[in-house]
Amino acid sequence: MKTLWTVLADPNREHIVEMLRDGPLTVGEITRRLGIRQPQVSKHLKVLSEAAIVEVQPQANRRIYRLRREPFQELEAWLQSFRRLWEERFDRLDNYLLEIQATEQQPGHGSEDNTDV
């Protein structure tokens, strides 16, 4: 896990990941789109494979690269947690609104059980 951060810190590798988000690509296609030399592209793809961000699937005599699901599942889990944080925040807001609205309504109702100032 430790290397993943540095793996994506490289702009070419980040670009490759961005491209693969739209679907699998061959090395040739990645090379063409990146506009850098193929040995360099292969080197980046090797790093991405070792970090388990992409996987390669041979098809006939071509090597097709695709993104692996796991890093995205982590992202999904993280977003879910962030979402739950908002749900919990809304729960607290609901309680807070009851609290302040009770205080506001207090003078109009001559309530005997509320002796706060």
């Binding site: 896990m1 980040e14 995205f72 919990e88 607290r92």
Partner: protein, 166 residues
């Protein structure tokens, strides 16, 4: 055959929407989201508290606050207002920061769009949270190693664990 349809969908979902109908007038709802004295009392998820909260409510203005854990650890965050349309809409970007409101490097910003809609005397609040794709991916794949990089980040990771343990 490649089965990338579901993957593509998932990757695109670097955003989420949470909404709720609150039994309060819209003007009050906008206030509880934009005034420090209110936010201090509800913004932090339990059992955290917000001891410090300053707000400069104008486009480009900063909303800087601190969350305190029950153990007394402080975690600062900073938002910058992008759009303010009282009492309908509030747009801001957020990230973790230090006590001087300097953003912590390496943690991506996210964009929050809050809308307040009247529904028969009640108010529907919709929070739309969006992360920049490449940055969010970095965070996601880096989750395992980021822990300990900063206290602030540790907090979120811890918090996430707590939630998952429930």
């Amino acid at each position: 055959m490649f089965d990338d349809q579901s993957l593509t969908t998932r990757v695109a979902e670097q955003e989420f929407v949470v909404e709720r109908l609150f039994n309060a007038p819209r003007a009050l709802m906008f206030e509880v989201f934009t005034r420090a004295e209110h936010l201090k009392r509800w913004w932090a998820p339990q059992p955290y508290a917000v001891p410090v909260c300053t707000i400069d409510l104008r486009p480009g203005g900063i909303w800087h606050y601190c969350m305190r854990s029950p153990e007394g650890r402080l975690h600062w965050a900073r938002s910058v207002y992008r759009e303010i349309v009282p009492p309908e809409k509030l747009v801001y970007t957020s990230t973790f920061a230090d006590e001087h409101a300097n953003p912590i490097e390496g943690i991506p910003e996210h964009l929050t769009t809050l809308t307040f809609t009247e529904e028969e005397g009640k108010t529907r609040v919709r929070a739309h949270v969006q992360f920049a794709s490449a940055e969010a991916l970095k965070v996601a794949v880096g989750l395992g190693m980021l822990e300990g990089m900063s206290m602030t980040w540790e907090y979120l990771v811890e918090y996430v664990r707590e939630l998952q343990a429930k």
